[in-house]
Subunit: 265 residues, 2 copies
Amino acid sequence: MPEPKGGAAAKLPLIDRDAGRPVFDQLAELLRQQILAGVYRPGERLPSESMLVETYQVSKLTVRRAINLLAAQNVISTAQGRGTFVKEVDLGSASFDLTNLKELLDDTRTMVKILEARFLPADERVARKLQLKPGQRCVFIRRLLAVQDQPVFYHRGYLIYDPTRPVMEAEMQVTDLKGILQGSGSTLIKSGDLLLSATVLNVEEAQTLQITALPAAGMILEHIFYDFENRPVSWGWFVCSSEHLCLHTRVGIEKVKRTRDERTR
Amino acid sequence: MPEPKGGAAAKLPLIDRDAGRPVFDQLAELLRQQILAGVYRPGERLPSESMLVETYQVSKLTVRRAINLLAAQNVISTAQGRGTFVKEVDLGSASFDLTNLKELLDDTRTMVKILEARFLPADERVARKLQLKPGQRCVFIRRLLAVQDQPVFYHRGYLIYDPTRPVMEAEMQVTDLKGILQGSGSTLIKSGDLLLSATVLNVEEAQTLQITALPAAGMILEHIFYDFENRPVSWGWFVCSSEHLCLHTRVGIEKVKRTRDERTR
DNA sequence: AAGTGGTCTAGACCACTAT
DNA sequence: TAGTGGTCTAGACCACTTT
């Protein structure tokens, strides 16, 4: 019985078991299309899992994977005992990522120029951030990221410098901006705290970024990385003009969505 | 044979089948703890799925759910035919959400004050954004979000006003800021585009937000919402001082993580 | 060829919600 | 009580990578 059993019209697009694509993925896409087309409206209930099992002739687990996929993408939500519902669009569920920044660093034309690198006794602020004693030696680095000689990001950072700690190797990697951003960070880093905020560029920043129209707004991305003993390894921040870092995202139902959640089951 | 079969020491914490918590969730947590403790280091391979099945005496699917859970949280990554690996911390995978903003609106002390609301012929810019003809009538609203009389967010927005379109009901909801942010947005909205950027507050913004130290930096959250015909319904933006919106996030391995991916299978 | 992750099934059982 | 989502199993098969 190759035909779907579901009542009403049977003109629904169906699952192609021979397509390279997993069945749960196809099913999720079919459901998304229907939501997108307004077949199921925000707030409305989707067919129950057992209905979908019958309609598309797949196992319950496969249906659940499809549903969980859409739930993870914030398209639907489930409620035990009640059903599965199409979510209403909400601004609060939005999340922004740093793809802009990543693309910039993936760009082969992007150059990292070291403006300054030297040892420095930690001042009160640095000592606090890196959990050092004031006056203790650390490394200070200033760098500029430029695309075709156009400065885009100005980065300043402090690294711990402690011969008794096994971060010597890590330092070189932490020092490598591309490494940090592209995922080949140090294996000695356990986690990192990031802070994104707005600022008015100061004179040094504006000059370094070659911005003349003042006052100018900028974005700051501050970061602290920690090792496996939860000790800070580095503290630093990126600054750029507001034109160069503008986070974009979309809420609600999208056509295609290829996130890491795709593989989610 | 209630004991784990795995070789070496058997002092591992085990799965409690009678705990209220799902087994896959417990297993994910056990693995995360071990990664956190440095048992498996970034870049290293985790035990294979079949090993985990033996060690913890659970089914393969349960192991996979645990692994997929951690993969969705960017803690590990899988490679078919090769194995499962602990991810290195990378800044590029960070994503920021608007929890600050949500909390602000959830706060019962937060008041929304309408400063102005009137019909307006669309100027060139508004017409473009809302896909109207220049001069066409739309609604303009200025609002202020304040916590205990302290202004925090200044919002300006334009709404389409077309009696032939069924957004009359929606307008009232779109008008309701809390609705938009908390998820009870209009059922007529299909999606929304969001843009987050930095700016230097202009005089009007600074005055409205009662900021006297100038120039002051601010964050702008711009939004356009679309209906199911992909037509823009509203366009607007939130402005706040940089102190009131500072996005924070964490990369790498965390202690606990309760995201929507929790229910992911 | 052996080991790895990836997909799918059929069926069991549970917890919750409506009625 | 009936229907819903949520968890788990045991086993089959596949695709990919390594040796």
